[in-house]
């Protein structure tokens, strides 16, 4: 399993960076958008007046993080589809590499890029959001990476079966955006209709939001063991299922 993993990860990272549009789209644009939005909304937040919607002051970072994770899931699926269509996966298959190694390498690349994007946002955001002192940054980063890995496992599953790259984007959006929409970010899960509540409770994003929000507010991890457990279950189930259904061509 480990044979080739680090080399492949490093190789894929280099290959990714060689495509300027990919880097701009993944790292540049989110950070740029963040700066633009912050410039517009930042002053309101800084005053911390009670009128500032809770969404902007607390949930915006979580929302942004989820969007970045979602785009990582989509781009993971898209890359796998491109590799599958192009016969790259097939060529890799005729080596001692295992599918899990290939997927893991791509997940590590995505995770690293997600971390870089978020790191840049935190650096840039310091100017606009006086949150640095109150928020347990280290804990939040760990929670965020953990949630991202769990969501990426959905990407695993999705990347294992999606036939073409053109499908990956819209199908990804179709699955991920409702997940984010019902995750409790925009309205409390408890206020949803019973059916939507049931749906929200099977989406891992709901638990990711609950965990991220809690940690952001300085709550201890022990209060979110349920979220951690469910995100772990998601990861295990999706990873195992994806290695079963992985399609090389």
């Amino acid at each position: 399993m480990l044979r080739g993993l680090w080399r492949l990860t490093w190789l894929e990272l280099k290959i990714f960076v060689r495509e300027p549009m990919g880097v701009i789209g993944t790292v540049g644009i989110p950070v740029l958008l963040f700066v633009v939005i912050s410039r517009l909304l930042g002053p309101q937040v800084r005053e911390a007046s009670p009128d500032v919607p809770r969404f902007i002051s607390v949930d915006l970072p979580i929302f942004t993080s989820l969007l970045i994770a979602a785009s990582a899931v989509q781009s993971l699926a898209a890359i796998m589809a491109i590799y599958r269509e192009g016969g790259i996966l097939k060529r890799l298959r005729a080596t001692p590499l295992r599918p899990s190694t290939i997927l893991t390498a791509h997940v590590l690349v995505k995770l690293l890029l997600t971390a870089v994007t978020l790191g840049l946002m935190v650096l840039v955001g310091r100017r606009y959001y006086p949150v640095g002192e109150a928020v347990p940054l280290l804990s939040f980063t760990v929670a965020l990476l953990f949630s991202t890995v769990s969501l990426l496992s959905l990407g695993f599953l999705f990347a294992s079966i999606v036939p073409t790259a053109r499908f990956a984007q819209p199908i990804g959006a179709l699955i991920l955006y409702p997940m984010i929409g019902l995750s409790g970010l925009f309205m409390p899960v408890d206020s949803l209709s019973p059916m939507l509540q049931a749906i929200a409770r099977i989406f891992p994003t709901t638990y990711a939001v609950s965990l991220l929000r809690g940690i952001w507010h300085g709550e201890g991890w022990y209060r979110h063991l349920g979220d951690v457990a469910l995100l772990t279950v998601t990861f295990v189930v999706c990873t195992m299922a994806s290695s079963k259904v992985f399609r090389w061509e």
Binding site: G4, L8, I88, K90, A94, P96
Partner: protein, 306 residues
Amino acid sequence: MMRQPVIHVDAIRKTYGRTVAVDEISFEVERGEIFGLIGPNGAGKTTTMECVEGLRTADRGSISVLGLDPTRQAYALQQRIGVQLQEAQLQKRIKVGEAIGFWASLYARPLDGDRLLEQLGLSDKRNAWFMTLSGGQKQRLFIALALINDPELVFLDELTTGLDPQARRATWDLVRSIRERGKTVFLTTHLMEEAERLCDRVAIIDHGRIIDIGAPDQLVRRHCPERSVLVVTEDPAAVERFRAIPHVDSVNSEGMHITIRGRGDDFVTEIIHCLAEHRIRVIDFRTELPTLEDVFLKLTGHVIRD
């Protein structure tokens, strides 16, 4: 020398939906030979090869490669074989040197990648992205990747498809050099000329079935024993002289052009003897030997198309 099969395929069958891609195919490949699976596109060559490589699983039948089961012992097998696939690609922006280095890192006893690139004429492309390579350079890189683990057995699927004649010839030399290193080569091709020039033995495959197996010249002799000789001469007695030669089936003349058809290994020699004995003055002399192409046509009733 004792026969040592490195590949043993016994009655494999593979279907896709209702299409039978491979139907009860059996053959053996011996150590140190270049064995070709030849037939038109869609005959089942690639499917058969991919079953042997362990990339597909046959519905029925058994396969043994270097004593291993290609499906159940796929990872052990991958260490010992080299594979070049039809229509495979690499990452667009991977460098040639990176690809070789990465592949080398996957195997227990890799060859020196730099030397391999040098031998394949790719040294100056070390830092080039895969997407910038020409068709011939990509093929050579894929050959390099197939050889990097110093495999005992090399699979080449339609290696020269899409190459210009010059690159094709260079590639044939390469394949021969693989055999000279003591490796076994298993290849597929729909080019009869390639099979004739390169393969020690071929299996002719059509509609998922093997029609016959043997050395190319053996197959030609077996299925197309007739050969013809064209003699251009002004000698009016020539036609009668040729008719008297044993094993001659027919003699047709059109002005000075005489076509003699017959069979047997000594047929051409006998004509030369006859010419010498009767001191027939010859303006032109051409022999036309049947090729694998003719064998294929005879066995299947249709021509193989490029």
